[in-house]
């Protein structure tokens, strides 16, 4: 028996030692910050486009702050993580990182000094990025304005505040590796897959996560959550009433809206704002790949979409005005609110994106969860600074929680022909009170108005 326990002990020690070896990453020597002239201009420009695919600015820029200087609070179920400064500042940024250190961070999620990075930085996707692209990204970031700014310390619960614990997370969920071509698919499809699954890290928001915050492998792109918004499913369970096509997806991602689907809002607005910079071929490749994930719509879905199209071509005048928002059934009260407050834009003559979407087409109204509908009704869509943009006023100050619930119930039943969301009321209250945190930005996302008005760079 004694021998057995000694054996167990040895096993534990060996395992711990093994884990320590696995967890320990060496520091990579700091370098003298490279001169701007040491980078090729074409490489920097390539890096700029790649950085928009990666949407780097969204997390690494604090609203109103300097680009890439970090400090944005990223709430997670485990506490708050603050994004890092990725400007070439030698003290507080990545100015002393060599290209090798940068590539290792992308490939393995390890800092220059050997610390493990939190998966809020989506290295589980970035591991697919090619050396060539990392080189360009490095050139781009190392030639930005250096900003001296140290982000606040992360606020995480024990034991997650200990970085070596992340090695365990990686052991369980992280697969390091470059992108592997699927030879059965076209070159365009492969290009799309490389961008979507790698640098684009679409799954970081659009895939649900498990209790430990890792993307659930069996539910790839089946719909997730980001900054208080539901990121809709990009697989066959897509809630879009008119199924996405290659062309509608291509146009939506490029311009931030499409007549069949409406305007990008929440964190997606930043994404589409950034993607507009991509070359046509890459945009088309992304659409090709994502459409293949959604697969052909079933005959029933296609027929339902046809019905909607027919309805939209006839239905011009809207439904008759119901009498009162205070009496009658919830649905009739909701209908009264819709007619009085929403129909001017949502059933008007102005086309999108400046007019509102007809709710027959809205993924938000057809979605499983009411969260996005709640966010839009309460907070609207703020205007973009300095140029024309879609805009919607928020109704938080006008509508009570009950009125929002009535309105949503009406929209569900009338436009999606689905029963009202069961848990809407609590969610409305929590969203309004801030208990459930939602980030609200303008439709291009990039300016993060109004904080950023007058930003210096």
């Amino acid at each position: 028996m004694k021998r057995f326990w000694i054996g167990v002990l040895i096993l534990i020690v060996v395992c711990l030692a093994g884990f320590a070896v696995y967890a320990w990453k060496p520091a990579i020597d700091p370098i003298e910050p490279p001169q701007r002239t040491s980078f090729d201009q074409a490489l920097i420009e390539k890096g700029a486009v790649l950085a928009s695919v990666g949407n780097c600015t969204a997390c690494h820029t604090k609203p109103g702050g300097k680009s890439f200087a970090g400090g944005l609070a990223v709430p997670t179920p485990f506490g708050t993580i603050y994004s890092t400064n990725i400007t070439p500042d030698p003290k507080t940024g990545i100015g002393r990182w060599s290209e090798a250190a940068f590539s290792r961070a992308m490939r393995e999620g390890v800092e220059r000094d050997g610390d493990h990075l939190y998966p809020a930085f989506p290295f589980d996707h970035f591991t697919l990025v090619s050396d060539e692209d990392n080189k360009a990204l490095y050139a781009y970031l190392m030639t930005r304005h250096a900003v001296e700014s140290r982000p606040p310390a992360n606020e995480l619960t024990f034991p997650l505040n200990l970085r070596f614990v992340l090695a365990g997370w990686k052991l369980l969920f992280f697969h390091k590796g470059a992108y592997r071509e699927d030879t059965a698919q076209s070159a365009e499809w492969n290009r799309g897959a490389y961008l979507v699954e790698g640098l684009g890290h679409c799954g970081a928001c659009h895939t649900p996560r498990n209790a430990l915050g890792a993307e659930r492998k069996g539910a790839h792109l089946a719909g997730g959550e980001a900054e208080g918004w539901d990121a809709f499913a990009l697989d066959r369970s897509s809630s879009a009433p008119v199924p996405w096509t290659h062309d509608s997806l291509d146009a939506y991602l490029r311009q931030g809206w499409h007549a069949d689907h409406g305007v990008a809002n929440g964190p997606m607005a930043e994404v589409t704002g950034n993607l507009g910079r991509l070359p046509d071929s890459d945009m088309s490749a992304i659409a090709t790949y994502l459409i293949s994930r959604m697969s052909e719509p079933t005959p029933e879905r296609a027929a339902a979409a046809e019905d909607i199209r027919k309805k939209l071509s006839i239905d011009q005048g809207g439904t008759p005005i119901p009498a009162s928002a205070t009496t009658g059934s919830p649905t009739s009260r909701g209908g009264a609110i819709y007619q009085a407050a929403c129909a001017t834009c949502h059933d008007g003559s102005r086309p999108q994106p400046f007019g509102g979407i007809d709710f027959h087409l809205s993924s938000t109204i057809a979605a499983r969860e009411p969260q996005n509908a709640i966010n839009v009704v309460l907070f609207g869509l703020p205007a973009t600074s300095g140029r024309e943009s879609p805009i919607m006023p928020g109704f938080a100050a006008t509508l009570t929680d009950d009125q929002v619930a009535d309105l949503l119930g009406y929209l569900r039943e009338t436009y999606a022909q689905k029963p009202a969301w069961a848990d809407a009321k609590t969610k409305i209250a929590d969203t309004r009170s801030g208990k459930y945190r939602v980030s609200v930005g303008p439709s291009d996302g990039i300016e993060r108005s109004p904080d950023n008005v007058g930003a210096k760079d």
């Binding site: 005005i321 009264a336 001017t344 109704f395 938080a396 100050a397 009125q403 109004p450």
Partner: protein, 168 residues
């Protein structure tokens, strides 16, 4: 028949319940301070307060605000006895054509009631939804900062810098 409480007075108005509050204020109650600019919630000329919060009255169906406290620019003071917000706008001559001003004052009032010591940056941010096509923004911002100081009982000598800088 709807019962509306405007500037502390209760009114019975005989309107279609879906009528925008703005129309009721202007047409039925003859309170013409709030203006019609766009009717779409995009300009802020129609801004009034409901239960202390700034709302676009053009997009607020009257039936939704029954029994709630509605305040318009007429409720901030009178010509003879202007309230601090109005006084500050007059002092700073913060109007060109004046069309946007009632809305500006109401949104600013809502901010200062919620946050009496609002910083200049807060004022700038809060007024963001309201447009002024004459471009008097800088004076408007100064006027609101001045109103904040007046409401806090500060005299002209210890005003905040933004309000103290000259006209122009």
């Amino acid at each position: 028949m709807l019962k509306l409480n405007v500037n502390g007075t209760s009114h019975d108005v005989d309107v279609d319940p879906a009528t925008p509050l703005l129309y009721v204020l202007r047409n039925d109650l003859k309170l013409n301070g709030a203006k019609f600019g766009c009717g779409l919630g995009q300009c802020g000329a129609c801004t009034v307060m409901v239960d202390g919060k700034a709302v676009f009255s053009c997009l607020t169906p009257a039936m939704l605000v029954e029994g709630r406290e509605i305040k318009t620019v007429e409720g901030l003071g009178t010509i003879d006895a202007p309230g601090p917000m109005q006084k500050a706008f007059i002092e700073q001559q913060a109007a060109q054509c004046g069309y946007c001003i009632a809305g500006m004052m109401m949104r600013a009032q809502a901010l200062l009631e919620a946050k009496p010591d609002a910083a200049d940056a807060d004022i700038r941010q809060a007024l963001e939804p309201n447009l002024c096509r004459c471009g008097t923004h800088m004076r408007i911002l100064r006027a609101v900062a001045r109103a904040r100081d007046l409401m806090q009982g500060k005299s002209a000598d210890n005003m905040a810098p933004a309000a103290a800088t000259g006209r122009g």
